[in-house]
C-alpha cells in the first residue's frame, strides 16, 4: 500500500460565486445571493462545518440603533472617535444606517434575541458606545447568530456547501480572480472551484500571538492568500487586545459583563480605571465611563497597573479582578450564563461569589484585506468581508459589538456586489489555463508530504513566531523590540521550507494543513510587525514607548498598506483617510466625554 501519492486527485467544478468562509460574514453573503438571485450557483467553502466557525464564540452582542433616544449620528461619532479618526467615514455612515435592519432580519429568521418585559428585543451598554444599543442573546450572541444563519441557509438549494475543504490558493487569470483551489480534508484530494467571483470571509488572525481569544482556525489564511496574489492588507498594525480574558488560555470574558455593571479592581480592591481618565467612579454602568471605556484604553491601563506592581499574581501570570458579585446570582444566571459556565469550568470561580481573574489578550484584527465601501478589493472579481476585510469602519480601535454587525451588513453587501459582478461579466474564465494553474498549485501543496524527515518541527517555529509577536508587538511597543521581532519573523519565514512533517498521509492530515496555515500566519505577522515599526506615532491600539508617544495627524492620519513580494520583507505604503464630516479631534471618555 502506498503511503501517499505524488499525483493527487484533482476534481473541478464551476460556480457563479465561491465564498471562502462559513462564519457570520460568509453565511450572510451566501444567503443574500440565494435570496436575490436564486438562479446563481453558490459554493460555500469552509475548513470547518460552518456553525463551528469562530463567530460562534462571540458573546456580548451586536450594535444597531433602535431606541428613540439614540441616533445614527451618535453611533457614527462613537465609531469614528473610537477608531481615533482612522475610519473611512463614508463606510461608517453606510454601516450604521444598516445595522438595525440586519438585526431585525435575523429576528425574522428566528434569532432568539433577549427580550424586555414588553416583548421587544433588549439592548445593553457596551464599551465606548454613548448609549445602550447592543442587541444580545444572553451572552451567546455569536452562537445564536451563527446557528440562525446556518440553519436559515439550509433553506436555499442554491447554496452548495463544501464543508471541511481547506482553500490553499486562488485562481487568477489575467489579473482577475476566477476561483480557488482547496484540499478536501477527509480524502486529501484537491478540488478546483472555478467561479465568476470569489468572496473572502475567512475571519481574523489572532493565532499570530501566543495568548489570544481566538479559535485554532484563525490563522489568517484569507489575508495570506490575498498577500500572495498582490492584494494589499490595510492597517495591520492595529491589533486589538481585549482587556478581560482568562490568564494563560486567553478565553474571553465578555465586555457584556461590564455592560451589565461589573467592576475591574486591582490587588488593593481599587477600581483603578479612574486613574486613567475614565472616571468618575460610578456604581451603576454609565456610557463611556470607567469599565465602559474603549478596549485600547482599558488594556493600556492594565499594562500600567502591572508596571506599578498592583496586579494580582496567578499561576498563569498577572491579572486584575473582574467583580460581578454585586450583580446577584439571578441577573448573572439570566444575562451571563455562559460566563458563569466558563469561569466555573476554566478557573474554578463562581462569579456570583468571587471575582474572576482577567488580563488582556489579543482579540481582534482591525486591519485586513483592503476593500472599498462595496467590499471589492483591488483585484477584479475578489471581494472580502467580515474580520478578514478592512472596509475601513474600525480605524485604530474597534468598538465592541461593531464586528458582529459588520459581518451582517458587509457580508450581505459582498454577496450582492459579487453577484452583480458575475452577472455583468458573464462568460467564465478560460478553463484550461485555470486547470493548469490548479494542477501546479496542487503539486506545490503536495510537496509538503514529500519532504525528507528530520527537519524542523512545525510547533517550534510556530512558538517562536507567537513569542516574537507577543514580546515585540504587544500593547506597548518600541523600535528596538519591533526590529527584533521583524528579524525573527524574516528568519522564520526562511526556515519554513525546512520543516518536516510526521504525517505523510493524505487522509485528514491536519499537520499538513497546519504547515500551510503557518505559512499564511507568518506572512500576516510580518505585515503587522513592519506596519507597526513604520507607524511613528501612537494611535488607538498602536502605542509606542519610544520617542513616538503622541498621535501625529500630519504624518500619520493615513492608512497603512502592506504588500508582499517573494523573498523580500513587506513593503509599507500609505493611503489617505476618507474624512467626510467629522474633523479629527480628541478622544474623551469619562467625565470629559463629548457626545
Amino acid at each position: 500500500m502506498t503511503r501517499f501519492d505524488h499525483r493527487p486527485s484533482l476534481e473541478s467544478t464551476r460556480h457563479d460565486v465561491v465564498i471562502v468562509g462559513g462564519g457570520g460574514a460568509g453565511l450572510s453573503a451566501a444567503i443574500a445571493i440565494a435570496e436575490q438571485h436564486p438562479d446563481l450557483s453558490i459554493a460555500l467553502v469552509s475548513k470547518v462545518v460552518p456553525m463551528r466557525s469562530h463567530t460562534v464564540a462571540a458573546e456580548g452582542g451586536a450594535a444597531g440603533v433602535v431606541s428613540a433616544s439614540d441616533g445614527l449620528d451618535l453611533h457614527f461619532r462613537d465609531t469614528v472617535a473610537g477608531g481615533e479618526w482612522l475610519c473611512d467615514q463614508a463606510a461608517v455612515d453606510h454601516f450604521v444606517a444598516r445595522c438595525a435592519d440586519e438585526m431585525v432580519r435575523l429576528e425574522h429568521w428566528g434569532c432568539p434575541w433577549s427580550r424586555g418585559a414588553d416583548g421587544s428585543p433588549a439592548v445593553r451598554n457596551f464599551g465606548g458606545m454613548s448609549t445602550a444599543r447592543t442587541w444580545f442573546a444572553a451572552d451567546k450572541t455569536g452562537f445564536h447568530i451563527l446557528h440562525t444563519l446556518f440553519q436559515t441557509s439550509l433553506r436555499f438549494p442554491g447554496i452548495q456547501r463544501f464543508d471541511e475543504y481547506f482553500v490553499h490558493d486562488l485562481l487568477v487569470d489575467d489579473g482577475r480572480c476566477r476561483g480557488v483551489v482547496a484540499i478536501d480534508i477527509a480524502s486529501g484530494g484537491f478540488h478546483a472551484l472555478q467561479a465568476g467571483a470569489v468572496i473572502m470571509a475567512t475571519g481574523g488572525a489572532g493565532r499570530v500571538y501566543r495568548q489570544n481569544t481566538n479559535a485554532g482556525i484563525l490563522t489568517g489564511d484569507g489575508l495570506g492568500l490575498a498577500l500572495r496574489h498582490g492584494v494589499a492588507l490595510r492597517d495591520m498594525e492595529f491589533v486589538q487586545f481585549h482587556p478581560t480574558t482568562l490568564p494563560g488560555s486567553g478565553l474571553l470574558i465578555t465586555e457584556g459583563c461590564r455592560g451589565e455593571g461589573a467592576y475591574l479592581t486591582n490587588r488593593h480592591g481599587y477600581r483603578y480605571l479612574q486613574d486613567y481618565g475614565l472616571g468618575p467612579e460610578v456604581s451603576e454602568p454609565a456610557p463611556k465611563t470607567m469599565e465602559l471605556g474603549p478596549r485600547d484604553r482599558l488594556s493600556q491601563a492594565f499594562w500600567h497597573e502591572q508596571q506599578a506592581g498592583r496586579t494580582v499574581d496567578t499561576p498563569n501570570g498577572p491579572a486584575v479582578h473582574l467583580e460581578l458579585m454585586h450583580l446577584g446570582r439571578r441577573k448573572i444566571a439570566e444575562r451571563l450564563p455562559f460566563i458563569s459556565e466558563l469561569a466555573k469550568t476554566f478557573v474554578g470561580v463562581d462569579p456570583a461569589r468571587a471575582p474572576i481573574p482577567v488580563c488582556p489578550s489579543v482579540h481582534y484584527t482591525m486591519g485586513g484585506i483592503a476593500t472599498d465601501i462595496t467590499t471589492a478589493t483591488a483585484m477584479p472579481g475578489l471581494y472580502a468581508c467580515g474580520e478578514c476585510a478592512s472596509v475601513g469602519i474600525h480605524g485604530a480601535n474597534r468598538l465592541g459589538s461593531n464586528s458582529l454587525a459588520e459581518l451582517l451588513v458587509f457580508g450581505r453587501e459582498a454577496g450582492l456586489n459579487a453577484a452583480s459582478f458575475v452577472l455583468d461579466h458573464a462568460g467564465q474564465g478560460e478553463g484550461t489555463a485555470l486547470a493548469a494553474q490548479a494542477r501546479d498549485s496542487a503539486a506545490r501543496a503536495s510537496a509538503w508530504l514529500a519532504r525528507p524527515a528530520g527537519g524542523l518541527r512545525l510547533a517550534e517555529l510556530r512558538e517562536q513566531m507567537t513569542t516574537a509577536m507577543q514580546d515585540g508587538v504587544g500593547i506597548y511597543r518600541d523600535a528596538e523590540r519591533m526590529v527584533a521581532a521583524c528579524e525573527t519573523l524574516e528568519n522564520l519565514s526562511q526556515s519554513l521550507d525546512r520543516i518536516s512533517l510526521d504525517d505523510r498521509g493524505r487522509c485528514f492530515n491536519t499537520e499538513w494543513l497546519s504547515a500551510i496555515e503557518l505559512g499564511f500566519t507568518l506572512d500576516v505577522a510580518r505585515c503587522i510587525a513592519h506596519a507597526a515599526l513604520n507607524r511613528k506615532e501612537s494611535r488607538g491600539a498602536h502605542q509606542r514607548l519610544d520617542e513616538y508617544t503622541q498621535r501625529d495627524d500630519d504624518q500619520f492620519l493615513r492608512h497603512s498598506l502592506a504588500k508582499l513580494a517573494p523573498g523580500q520583507p513587506p513593503q509599507i505604503h500609505y493611503q489617505a483617510v476618507n474624512i467626510t464630516r467629522l474633523a479629527p479631534g480628541e478622544r474623551r471618555y469619562g467625565a470629559e466625554q463629548t457626545p
Binding site: S187, G188, E334, R506, C507
Partner: protein, 128 residues
C-alpha cells in the same frame, strides 16, 4: 481513499454502567408483568368459585411463591424508581415564570406520592 472504520456495537447493554441501569429497567418490566399474571390468576380463581379461590390463597403462602413475591417487589421498586428518574423527560414541560421546573423535583414528587399511596394502601389493606 480507504474505507472508514465502523466499530461493532459489542455488549453495549452491559457496559458502560448507565446502560446496564437501563437494561435492568427494561428487564424488570418482565417481573411487573409476572405480577399482573399472578393477579389475573387470582381473579380467575375468584370467578371459578370459593374452592379455587382457597387453593389460590393456599398457593400464595408457599415459600416459592413468597420468594417470587419478594423478587417481584424488589424488581417493581427498581422499575418504578428508575422510571421516576426519567419521568421529567416524558411529561410536558413545566415552567415557573422563565425557569423550567428542575427535573430532580419532579422525580422526588413522584417518589413521595408513590410512598404515600403505598402506605395508605397497606393501611387500608390491614384495616380490611
Amino acid at each position: 481513499m480507504k474505507a472508514h472504520y465502523q466499530r461493532p456495537m459489542g455488549r453495549w447493554y452491559l457496559r458502560p454502567f448507565y446502560l446496564f441501569v437501563y437494561t435492568l429497567r427494561e428487564l424488570t418490566a418482565v417481573f411487573v408483568l409476572l405480577y399482573a399474571l399472578v393477579l389475573l390468576a387470582g381473579l380467575a380463581a375468584l370467578a371459578a368459585g370459593p374452592e379455587a379461590w382457597a387453593g389460590y390463597r393456599q398457593a400464595l403462602t408457599h415459600p416459592l411463591s413468597i420468594g417470587l413475591h419478594v423478587l417481584i417487589l424488589v424488581a417493581a421498586l427498581y422499575n418504578s424508581i428508575t422510571w421516576f428518574m426519567v419521568a421529567p423527560k416524558a411529561m410536558p414541560a413545566v415552567f415557573i415564570g422563565t425557569r423550567p421546573l428542575p427535573g430532580l423535583l419532579i422525580t422526588l414528587a413522584h417518589i413521595v406520592v408513590f410512598a404515600i399511596i403505598s402506605v395508605v394502601t397497606v393501611v387500608l389493606a390491614g384495616a380490611g
